[in-house]
Every structure is written in C-alpha cells, then in structure tokens.
Amino acid sequence: MTALLRTIGLRKAFGGLQVTAGVDLDLRDGEIHALIGPNGAGKTTLINQLAGEIAPDGGRIEFLGRDITRRPAHARARLGLARSFQRTSLLPAMTVMDNALAAALANHGRPWGVFRAARRDAVLRAAAQAALELTGLADAAARPVAQLAHGQRKQLDLALALIGQPKVLLLDEPTAGLSPAEGREMVALLENLKGRWPMLLVEHDMDAVFALADTLSVLVAGRIVATGAPQDVRADARAQAAYFGDEINA
C-alpha cells in the first residue's frame, strides 16, 4: 500500500545541531505509526516540519501524493493534515465549545461570515459537537478552558485536531504529563479512533505504544535507527541499545 504521508531525506539543523538528519518515514493508510526516541531526539521538530511550522533545510514531504514541502501550515491543514501539540495549544479565556467552533471555521469553509453568530451556525455546531463527543468533552462544552484539568486539556487539544475531518493525525505525546488514570483514558480514546484516522503518534509510554501501534520507528539524534512491526523492533538490538536499554534495566 502506498504511503499517505512520506518524508524523503528530511534534514533540519538548529545552528550546529543536526536535529533531523535525513529522515525517511512512511505513514500508510489505516495504521498507527508510533515514533519513539529519547528526549531531544528531534521528534517534535519532525512533527513541526510535517505540519509546516518549521521549514526543513533539505529533503521532501509528500502528502496524498503531493509535494507539500513548501506549503504553509494552514494549507496543509486544509488538505487534511491535522496535529495536536505536546504542550497543549488552546484558546485561553474561551469556552470549550468556542474553542471547537473556532477550530471548525476554516476547515468547514466558513471563516468569512460577518452577520450570523458562529454559535448559531448549524454546520459549525455539528462539527464542534461531534468532536467534543468523540473525545469525551461534551459535558464540559460550556466550561472555560482555564477550568479544565490537564487531562481534559489534552483531550481538547485532540478534539481541535479532529474537527476538520482530517485525513491524517499527527499526535505529539498525547499522554504527556497525564496521571496514570488520565493516561489510560487517553489510550482508550485513541484505540477508539484507530482505523478511522491514520496517525503518526509520538509517544513516551511504552505500554501505550504496544497497545496502539502497527508500526514502530525509533528516532535517535535525528536519525531513524529502526522501523518495523513493534515486536520486531523490540527485538532489534540497535533499538534496544538506543532506547529500550534504560527501560529494560530500570
């Protein structure tokens, strides 16, 4: 099967630090492709390049067979490439519902209305409501973001990514900073989304990775050192040395 999302020889350096050192990565339809690696390996930087926030120094990004390397972030989102943020990126001082409505505007092709209230727009409302229900936030719709627990913020961050009916999800550590209970809830949520959305999933929690992933890649110092079925990668010596070593010894 051909890849929905593909990087070819992607490179990025910050000053002298090579953070993406020739990354080739494929995300196929229907799969969850987990990306693991130690802190500072360049996972978030890779997501930021895929989403269009950071321009790579070299290499290519293809999405749905198109070269999107030079497209701006909003254009990629409109093509169906949605992302969540490691540190949640929400609209403060607004309610959960208004966050969802705002995220629905562009992807449902209606950011230009000047007369009818967005809250009364049936299309926007339906899109917002569906995403909040999917992420278990329907009951919190009227609450200001400031009142949400951290787990709920992570859920909302995910909900905002889902609202545009994307074709691919880029998720940057959806369980980061969550309590064990919140983390289990998030994993159950992602399991529920599996099959409906292909995902590139950056994740630290190995239990979550083995529960969810179809493919596993290990990024170390900007390089993919192993990629394949999770069980095979676990057995891969290089990956063990690079990453699992700590965990196995711990």
Binding site: E53, H74, F85, L90, L105, A106, F115, R116, A161
Partner: protein
C-alpha cells in the same frame, strides 16, 4: 464591574442620541458641536477597535486613514470650487464618501499586506512608519496648503440634507456611528469575528486548524481603515478644514487611547473611550497649554503596556 460598564455605555449612547434635544432646550448649540465631534471620534476609534480590539494588533498608524478620508473630501471640493483637476473635482457628498472609503481601504490593503508580515513591536513600528509617511506626504502637498492645511470652503452636497446645518451633520455622524457599532456587534460573534479574536489569542493553533490568519487579518485591517477614513471624511465636513496634523502619530495614539480606555474589543468601547478622551482633553488643556506632554507620556505608557500584552 461588567454591569456598570455596560450601563455607562448605554447611558452615553442614549445621551448622545438625545443631544439635539438637550442643545435645543438649553439653547446651547455648543453641546451639539461637542456631540458631533464625539460621534466622529468614536467612529474613528470604532475602526481601530476592529483591528486593535478584536484582532489584537497594535496598529500605530491609524490616524493616516483619518487624514486620507478628510483629504478625500477636501481635495475634490477644493477643485469643484476653484477649478483644476476636472477628473477629480466634485461637490457630490456621495462621491466624497465613496472616495474616502475606497482610498482608506486601498491604503490599508497595500500597507497591511506589508505590515502584517511582521508582528509584535515590528508591527507597531512599521504601521507608525506608514502613518508618518502619509503625514509627510500631506505636508508636501503645496497645492493643497502644505503644512497650513486646506479649508473646506463649501461642504459636500447630499440629497435630502444640508451639512451646513449642525443638526443634519450630527444626525449623519450619529447614524453612521450607530450603523458601524451595530455592524461590529454582529461581526464580533460571527465566524469572521471569531476567526479574528481566536487568532489574536493563539494564531499558531488557528493556522493548525487551517485558517489563513494573514488574509483574515488583512481583511480586518482593510475594514478598519475604511471605517476610520469615513470618520475622517465627516471630520472634514465638521471642521470645514483639513490639515496634515490629522495624520500625526499623536492622533494615532489618541485613537489607541480611546480604544484601550473604552475596553479593547468591546462593541461600545470606542464611544466611552472617545468621551473619556474629550473630557480629559478639556480638563488637561484648561490646566496647562502644555497638556500634550503629560498626555503623550500617558499614551506611550498605554501603548507599551498593550504591546507587552500582545507579545
């Protein structure tokens, strides 16, 4: 807090609407004059409120639009009366207003397309620079009075009204203000308003949600420029005089002051802000002829506070 503010805004709006009656009953035409000036300033600030209040962008060159709108009245009127530039000469008020709005929108489109590529302090500086550019350009227009300014010796002609009648001019100013404020009220909660305010809070997230933040902001900037140019056109009719001072950065600062004091993004904020400005100006100028100095310092403080909040 919320309620007294809303109450004050409504009371002020009602008082402004009732001003013709008050001025007649008290036989003080001065009050009508103040009310007209207030309505025009509030309209100018209402334009800025869209980009600064809703959009969170500290545009420091907004007085340029005010001056552009004023000269769009004064120049065609000047030629209509004294000849020359036949293609531009006109005493038709509808033409003047259309020209003011179109010129304001066009200047906003061109300068906004450049300025909106920057952010934070850079955006403040570049909009200030564009404002100063207009100021110096107007000073250089020797045919139109240069730094002395240009009198409007004959006010624009409009169907069904005479702008020489203070009551008519007030009525027109107040009606346009009311329309723009009502429009802002709808806009604020409409998709475009939400896109604008959400981008002010978190542009990164809105881009990730597929929004072309740049074009939304540019549209708001054009709208803001057109509205303030409309106010400038009314100001030319009211004062029967235009001058480069209308484009000065201190005037831009005054508009910012009105928006921020009235509550950035509040629909009726420009009205209370303009009222506070007019009162403060009266008080300070009665204490000292150098009132611009403390006022300027106040403005700089307000601007810097706003810039820090936006950064």
């Amino acid at each position: 807090m919320r309620n007294w503010r809303a109450g004050l805004e409504i009371a002020l709006l009602a008082a402004l609407a009732a001003m013709p009656v008050i001025a007649t009953v008290t036989a003080q035409p001065f009050w009508l004059d103040v009310a007209t000036r207030l309505a025009i300033l509030a309209l100018a600030a209402a334009g800025l409120n869209i980009i600064l209040g809703l959009g969170g962008l500290v545009s420091f060159g907004h007085a340029a639009f005010y001056a552009i709108g004023a000269y769009a009245v004064a120049i065609p009127a000047h030629h209509a009366l004294y000849g020359g530039a036949d293609w531009l000469a006109s005493s038709n008020g509808l033409f003047h207003v259309a020209l003011a709005v179109a010129a304001g929108a066009l200047f906003a489109l061109v300068t906004g397309a450049l300025a909106l590529r920057t952010k934070g302090l850079h955006f403040i500086m570049i909009t200030l620079a564009f404002g100063q550019m207009v100021y110096f350009l107007l000073n250089a227009l020797e045919d139109y009075g240069g730094d002395d300014g240009l009198p409007v010796d004959q006010r624009s002609e409009l169907p069904l009204m005479s702008l020489d009648d203070p009551l008519h001019l007030f009525g027109l100013s107040f009606a346009l203000l009311a329309v723009v404020l009502a429009f802002t009220w709808r806009l604020k909660n409409a998709p475009f308003g939400l896109a604008l305010t959400a981008s002010a809070r978190n542009a990164r997230r809105m881009r990730a949600a597929g929004l072309n933040v740049f074009t939304v902001r540019l549209a708001a900037y054009v709208l803001a420029g057109a509205i303030t140019a409309l106010a400038g056109a009314l100001a030319a009719e009211h004062a029967a005089f235009v001058s480069p001072a209308m484009a000065e950065w201190t005037r831009a600062g005054e508009l910012m002051f009105m928006v921020i004091l009235g509550g950035a993004g509040r629909v009726l904020g420009p009205l209370t802000g303009a009222a506070a400005f007019v009162v403060l100006e009266e008080l300070l100028s009665s204490w000292t002829v150098y009132w611009h100095l403390p006022f300027g310092l106040l403005l700089i403080a307000v601007a810097l506070m706003q810039a820090r909040r936006a950064a």
